[in-house]
């Protein structure tokens, strides 16, 4: 078996200090292989969001080691983590989090702007990403002019425009009805088949069924890991 893309060893996270301190993670071990599609499940307070924040380099663990492509991440400073996010990670949030009063294309181009791409490169890549999520004709619409499902697809286009290694999705279907949810999941599955590693937090078993691997969290620890190849085949019509 090749080295995992991401490797967490004995990750702990404590919020606050003294008597009010709260231990959110109590020693998480998790290996994520390149190309996997992982659904993270668990009741609220189980540590799944904290783990996702650490995996997304938005937060740092209190203890333990975090290897990404064999490099230590837990020792990186704020700006180094930002550069790592810029280069290797893409984010999709439950609330879409698009910039308001800003066209779909400008939203999608934003990560490229920070990467320093020129105008033409930004436009070409942005349009390609919008095309991939099926919204090429909607490039000049602002979020207010788009439906929830469309907004989430713009957010996915923004996440993949930099061709990241890992796509992190925090309850991407949480604000959508079941029909739109399935559309989004199919989109994520398709991206995964093209080689992007997908990490998704969800509490809906229907959505988790799209993943190759389901990681269950409980009380700040990984409770169990299930593989579910056949279920995914069965659900995706």
């Amino acid at each position: 078996m090749p080295d995992p893309l991401i490797s967490l060893r004995n990750i702990t996270k404590v919020f606050g200090t003294g008597p009010t301190a709260f231990q959110a993670l109590k020693g998480v071990d998790l290996d994520i292989a390149a190309g996997d599609f992982i659904a993270v499940m668990g009741p609220s307070g189980s540590g799944k969001s904290t783990t996702m924040n650490i995996l997304g380099c938005l937060d740092v663990p209190t203890g333990g080691t975090f290897l990404f492509r064999g490099h230590h991440v837990e020792t990186l400073d704020r700006d180094q983590r930002a550069l790592l996010r810029r280069k290797y990670l893409g984010f999709v949030f439950q609330g879409f989090n698009l910039l308001s009063r800003t066209s779909a294309l400008e939203n999608v181009e934003l990560p490229l702007l920070y990467r320093g791409d020129d105008r033409k490169a930004r436009r070409d890549a942005g349009m390609a990403a919008l095309d991939k999520v099926g919204l090429a004709n909607w490039w000049d619409h602002t979020p207010a002019e788009l439906s929830g499902g469309q907004q989430q697809r713009v957010a996915i286009a923004r996440a993949i425009v930099t061709r990241p290694d890992v796509l992190l999705a925090d309850e991407p279907t949480g604000n959508l009805d079941s029909e739109r949810s399935v559309e989004i999941m199919e989109l994520l599955s398709g991206l995964n088949r093209e080689g992007i590693t997908v990490l998704m937090v969800t509490h809906e078993p229907d959505m988790a069924a799209f993943a190759r691997t389901v990681v269950h969290f409980k009380d700040g620890l990984v409770e169990r890991i299930n593989a579910n190849h056949h279920e995914r085949e069965a659900v995706s019509v």
């Binding site: 700006d79 930002a82 800003t102 920070y114």
Partner: protein, 402 residues
């Protein structure tokens, strides 16, 4: 990186046009006020200087009595006489000419038109002392002056009213009870600085005025021209000594005459208007600072309002410095925009105010550049604190912000 944050800042300003406009309003007014006040103040100063230089810059005016007016009680100090004039002319070094003056008012009549005006008796020295050339004709000859001939040089207002703008030189008009030959017309001088029409006058040899109008040899005013090479202060002291001696004033007593230095008045007035300009500009500068605080205020609100946006930017890989620069550049671009609009507004104010204030229109590049530079600096200073706050946000908290 600068190109990126510049694009972002412009986009953000464009997306919130009304808010951006309200943000820069303080700077607009501040810059406009500073530039307009300083420019108008300088124009006023130069207008005052111009008016005073029309009196002649190196001129001493000598009158009997202390200071302005008649002074307190006691006997009225005596007027000067023609011997005083000769004495100053001959005994004081640095004096180019002395023009005694005796004046009265009289009605001038020509072919049925009549006009009440001031009659000034003086010598040819007046034309040396004051830069007041003739528009037409000639000044009187020393012989005419000596004889007190009835010849007159008229101001333009008199010419307009008496001769209806027609030819005056060579004609004979009546003034008071006498008739006199018009030999010259003075060039137009316009309004005096402190009211009164300087062109409403008839100038005659002093002997004619003394003999025919005032009936005495008294001289109320002497205008003394001072050579450029001499200090007016030194000449003033010399004249003072001479007059004290001639008027028998004892050692401890005060002068019973006063010598007025137009240069001194000029300096005083210039100093006063300059000071006023500075005070008004300082008040305007305060409004500029208030404008800067306005920018900081809106930028702080904007940082709070856009917390989630900042979170998104951080999540997709913006480093802290890029967020800081975006907000800083936004503040600087806004305040520079305000500066530009303020400069334009100032020009409008100046254009509207100069005719009302009767001062010449001027454009002062220095104050325009300084005000613009200050507006940019205000952007940096007042934009830095909100920008730093934005950059210091934790991405997770920022993303969760509602």
């Amino acid at each position: 990186m600068f190109g990126t944050v510049f694009v972002l800042a412009i986009r953000s300003i464009r997306r919130h046009l009304l808010r951006s406009f309200l943000t820069i309003l303080g700077i607009v007014i501040g810059v406009a006020a500073v530039v307009a006040m300083v420019t108008l103040g300088k124009a006023t100063t130069s207008a005052v200087q111009q008016q005073i230089s029309a009196l002649g810059t190196n001129v001493l005016q000598i009158r009997p009595g202390q200071g302005f007016g008649r002074g307190g009680g006691g006997p009225r100090p005596p007027d000067f006489d023609p011997e005083d004039v000769t004495a100053i002319e001959q005994q004081v070094a640095g004096v180019t000419a002395v023009a005694p003056q005796a004046s009265t008012t009289a009605t001038a009549i020509y072919e049925g038109a009549n006009w009440s005006t001031t009659v000034q008796g003086t010598t040819n020295g007046i034309f040396t002392v004051q830069p007041w050339p003739l528009a037409q004709g000639r000044i009187w000859t020393p012989a005419e002056e000596q004889a007190g001939k009835s010849v007159c040089i008229i101001g333009n207002t008199v010419r307009q009213n008496l001769f209806r703008g027609g030819e005056a030189v060579g004609h004979r008009m009546r003034i008071g009870n006498i008739s006199c030959d018009v030999i010259g017309v003075l060039s137009t001088r316009g309004q005096a600085g402190f009211g009164g029409d300087q062109d409403d006058t008839v100038v005659m040899p002093i002997k004619a005025v003394q003999r025919r109008f005032t009936g005495s040899r008294d001289i109320r005013l002497m205008m003394v021209g001072v050579d450029q090479a001499y200090s007016t202060t030194v000449v003033q002291a010399a004249i003072s000594d001479l007059l004290r001696e001639r008027r028998n004033i004892a050692g401890g007593k005060q002068d019973d005459f006063n010598i007025f230095d137009t240069k001194q008045i000029s300096d005083t007035l210039t100093g006063t208007t300059t000071l006023l300009t500075r005070i008004v500009a300082a008040v305007a500068a305060i409004s500029l600072v208030v404008g800067g605080i306005g920018i900081m205020n809106i930028m702080l609100v904007s940082v709070t309002e856009r917390t989630r946006e900042i979170g998104i930017r951080l999540a997709i890989g913006a480093v802290a410095n890029e967020v800081l620069m975006q907000f800083l550049v936004e503040a600087v671009v806004l305040s520079m925009l305000g500066g530009l609009v303020g400069l334009a507004l100032a020009q409008l104010v100046i254009l509207a105010a100069t005719p009302l204030m009767q001062v010449p229109w001027t454009f002062d590049p220095t104050i325009n550049m300084v005000a613009f530079a200050i507006s940019a600096i205000i952007g940096v200073v007042f934009g830095f604190f909100p920008a730093r706050r934005a950059a210091a946000l934790n991405p997770i908290d920022a993303l969760r912000h509602e």
